[in-house]
């Protein structure tokens, strides 16, 4: 009896003690739930693109805000110009005979350049450089923006600050808006809580008078073109802070403009990231392309279901019809070229904030236009990540459009970082998606 008593007494003690001890060690039997991903990936491109890093090897986290492909020195071969917000300078890359690219500083000491515009502003036969000075990459409502014009002279560039005392400037474009024979400028003052769209009237001798077209924060790009085909140049603007709106400024021919809000959405989180003018449907008028995916206000931005690319088809008489043509998460920039040589304009998109936990999610895709404006997405690369700017043009002299993109490494994960990357067009063939691996 005593033995039985001791046995049951021991069990009465051992069971709770043992349970308490072993409970934390019990493994989980359930299959872990699938983690949701809003990332986007696409079939590998059937067009062959060869990855190439442009410029010297880098360390750290590059901050490239803008890239352009332009024949700056008029030698018949395109150069690559890049805005480097880490070094606060404008870089130029020239292709060498062995196919490598030599980097040099075109202009030093510009405070967080957001965009560079290359144009012969003084009509003296060489290309001058106009820089949209952001002043701070991070959100800042201070009066820290400028437009700086670098006059190209034999002895070097001469700096003219043609607009200051404004908030962060994101874009400058040019055109003769008042028909006086001198090139004027359209300016997107992004700011933060405050911003505006301006045009700068060229008074000669590098003096400009500013005119306000719109007071609104978040103006990113101001493409210029004759959108209504009446023979003068109009200005478009995409406004993306708090209010997501597309504005058109119809030139009356003399530098007076009629402002028209062409489109808006109440989705305050769309993340409009730029505006590109191009005749995407080949009908002879300029359409607009809106890459959308800017969620940089978040510490860790994430692709959203409305991100991607929107095409605004110009229907004439200031009517534009919007259509979504891509769902690439975190889309930040777009460029247009006929990549497959079928005579139709295709689109290349880059992503700043796709879901980078998914190793196959896209950072570069192109949208193949079948001529009826049905767009098929093809993935070119999944890295480098954090691409914020893209340009299309021939960089290797073979007559085919290539792709150049720049990385802005401000968000996690700080891996697979890039700086200035190129995807050089080759023959149609096997996918080169994996060839870009570093």
């Amino acid at each position: 009896m005593l033995g039985k008593f001791l046995l049951w007494f021991s069990l009465a003690i051992a069971i709770p003690v043992g349970t308490a001890m072993w409970l934390p060690q019990v493994p989980a039997w359930r299959t872990p739930p699938a983690i949701y991903s809003g990332g986007t990936s696409y079939p590998a491109s059937e067009l062959d693109f060869r990855f190439q890093e442009i410029g010297p090897p880098f360390t750290g986290l590059p901050l490239i805000t803008n890239v352009q492909i332009v024949d700056f020195d008029d030698d018949g071969q395109n150069e690559i110009i890049a805005c480097d917000a880490l070094g606060n300078r404008i870089l130029i890359h020239k292709r060498q005979s062995d196919g490598s690219w030599e980097e040099s500083v075109l202009i030093a000491d510009v405070s967080v350049p957001a965009h560079v515009t290359v144009v012969d502003i003084d009509d003296d036969g060489d290309l001058d450089v106009i820089v949209a000075v952001l002043g701070n990459l991070m959100p800042d409502d201070g009066v820290i923006g400028r437009v700086e014009l670098f006059e190209n002279r034999d002895e070097g560039f001469v700096r003219h600050v043609i607009l200051d005392d404004v908030r962060r400037v994101a874009d400058v474009q040019y055109g003769d808006f008042n028909g006086d024979g001198k090139l004027d400028l359209a300016v997107a003052v992004f700011g933060y809580a405050r911003g505006e769209v301006l045009w700068l009237e060229n008074l000669g001798d590098f003096e400009f008078r500013s005119h306000t077209l719109l007071s609104a924060p978040g103006a990113i790009h101001v493409p210029v073109g004759d959108f209504d085909q009446d023979g003068d140049l109009d200005i478009m603007a995409i406004v993306t802070q708090n209010e997501e709106e597309l504005w058109g400024f119809e030139n009356q021919g003399d530098g007076t403009f009629v402002a028209r809000r062409l489109w808006m959405t109440i989705n305050l989180d769309l993340g409009g990231a730029g505006l590109v003018a191009a005749d995407l449907d080949g009908d002879g008028d300029l359409d607009l392309i809106l890459p959308a995916g800017d969620n940089l206000e978040d510490f860790d931005a994430y692709p959203q279901p409305y991100h991607g690319c929107y095409w605004f088809e110009n229907l004439g008489n200031w009517r534009f019809e919007m259509r979504r043509i891509s769902d690439l998460g975190g889309t930040y920039a777009a460029a247009v070229a006929d990549f497959d040589g079928d005579g139709h304009q295709d689109v290349v998109l880059v992503s700043l904030t796709n879901d980078w936990l998914g190793p196959d999610n896209a950072s570069v895709i192109w949208l193949q236009n079948d001529g009826q404006q049905n767009f098929t997405p093809w993935q070119i690369a999944s890295h480098p990540m954090h691409l914020v700017t893209v340009a299309a043009g021939d960089i290797d002299g073979d007559g085919l459009p290539d792709i150049v993109a720049g990385s802005l490494n401000v968000r996690r994960p700080h891996a697979q970082a890039g700086r200035i990357s190129a995807w050089v067009s080759g023959q149609r063939g096997e996918s080169s998606v994996l060839r870009g691996e570093r």
Partner: protein
């Protein structure tokens, strides 16, 4: 004895049943999941793994803590499940409920997110923070409706949250954008009475006046917007995530550094900065840049020019160059008694970011080392102008006028002090004085667009 034995057997059977239930529940739990990713910040993943272990063994609060740490680093998909686990353990856990709703919000699953935010509003808040979360949850439901382009739903949510300035703003904005300016007007007027220096509500007032066909009133509203410095935070995300971001990683070390930065305790700043650098290792982390800036600042303030130059050389390896670095280099050369090199670097810094301090340094340089009264006065004028503008924007108008008038004396050919003197008088409703100042500005620079616009406004016949 038999009775005791029977009792013992009953206890053992009961214990066995309870243990079985506990073990089964434990075995059927969801294991805390850590993202399979390598981050450059070497502290994050080990800390997350530790929190995951605690969540696995602990209770709803531990699971919530794990979820919050995941949210803080942008692992929204993983955070979702941590919060779901926390809610399985305790359905009344308001922090977990808010965290779940927020995770879904950032994952772009708006409908699910709003449904979870609604549950937040129905829980009993146990702290001020949880009360605030309820207001934010209601606001987030409205924002989600906007993201779904559901105008009616958004409007309803913002109306329910009336009195919360971000909701009032978004409601008035919606009304304006849907051609209901008359309905937006009372909200905007009420908020401007409450927050007279709110730039957002002046912005809406500007849009309102345009919608009502009152261009002069719209112009004046735009002018007020320019003068206003109160910012209504329309998005609570940063406010919510910032403390969560600091739960793990180098941020845990950078936060204490931020607290001492700017104090005179240079040794402490340097010690903390070096701790971060040691933890960081060789991998680049974007937010760790603040540490380099602090080390540089300490070296300058500690008057150690060689150390400044050494640090700058390290930073330039990565291709970094900025106004702070150039100013620090100028300071170092000044300490090394090479004033020309100092001035050269300060001038480069000035091209990037003009500041009162830089202009004052250069004014001193052109006063003593390289005497040039004209250049000295130009820098003094710029220093006074920048100070005057800062005073103007900070609403210290009397001091602003003193500084701006001093700027006009040091450099009579600069139009900008005149423009800002005009601005001050415009806002003080002294139109004649304002007009005179704008005209002086335009005499010097006929292309000064903002001065021209103000002159036009003041001289054209008054209307609505």
């Amino acid at each position: 004895m038999i009775l005791i034995l029977r009792l013992l057997i009953a206890v053992v059977l009961f214990e066995t049943a309870v243990a079985g239930i506990l073990l089964a529940r434990r075995a059927l739990r969801q294991e805390a999941q850590v993202p399979a990713v390598v981050l450059h910040d070497p502290l994050v993943m080990p800390q997350l793994k530790e929190l995951a272990r605690a969540a696995d063994r602990g209770d709803s609060d531990d699971q919530t803590r794990f979820g919050m740490a995941l949210l803080g680093k942008g692992f929204y998909g993983h955070a979702e499940w941590a919060f779901r686990d926390a809610l399985r353990s305790n359905a009344q856990n308001a922090d977990a409920q808010f965290g779940l709703a927020f995770s879904l919000d950032r994952l772009g699953r708006m409908a699910e997110s709003s449904s979870e935010y609604r549950k937040v509003t129905q829980l009993n808040p146990r702290s001020e923070n949880q009360k605030l979360n309820q207001v934010h949850a209601l606001h987030a439901i409205g924002r989600n409706a906007l993201r779904q382009e559901n105008l009616v739903g958004a409007e309803e949510s913002f109306k329910v949250n009336s009195g919360f300035s971000p909701a009032d703003y978004l409601l008035a904005q919606l009304l304006l954008r849907s051609d209901r300016a008359e309905q937006a007007a009372p909200i905007i007027r009420r908020k401007l009475a409450e927050l007279p220096r709110s730039l957002e509500f002046h912005f809406l007032d500007h849009r309102l006046q345009l919608a009502l066909g009152r261009p002069r009133a719209a112009f004046e509203a735009a002018a007020m917007m320019e003068r206003s410095d109160y910012v209504v935070s329309l998005n609570f995300y940063t406010e919510y995530v910032m403390p969560l971001e600091r739960m793990t990683g180098l941020s845990t070390l950078i936060s204490p550094l931020g607290e001492v930065a700017g104090t005179d305790d240079l040794d402490r700043i340097e010690e903390l900065a070096k701790q971060v650098k040691a933890a960081q290792g060789d991998t680049p982390v974007f937010m760790a840049k603040i540490v380099d800036d602090q080390l540089l600042d300490v070296a300058v303030r500690g008057k150690r020019p060689e150390r400044v130059l050494e640090l700058l050389a390290e930073l330039r390896v990565e291709g970094r160059e900025n106004a702070g670095m150039l100013e620090a280099e100028g300071d170092a050369w000044e300490m090394l008694e090479q004033p020309e090199r100092a001035a050269e670097h300060w001038q480069r810094a000035l091209l990037l970011t003009p500041s009162v301090g830089l202009h004052e340094k250069l004014a001193r340089h052109f006063d003593s080392h390289q005497p040039d009264p004209e250049r000295r006065d130009r820098h003094l004028a710029q220093a006074k102008l920048l100070q005057g503008i800062e005073d103007y924007r900070g609403d210290r108008l009397a001091t602003a006028i003193e500084n701006l008038e001093a700027a006009t004396r040091f450099n009579p050919r600069d139009p900008n002090p005149w423009f800002y003197l005009g601005e001050i008088r415009f806002h003080r409703r002294q139109p004649e004085l304002a007009l005179a100042a704008y005209e002086r500005c335009l005499e010097i620079r006929p292309g000064h667009g903002p001065a021209e616009a103000k002159r036009r406004h003041l001289t054209e016949p008054s209307g609505p």
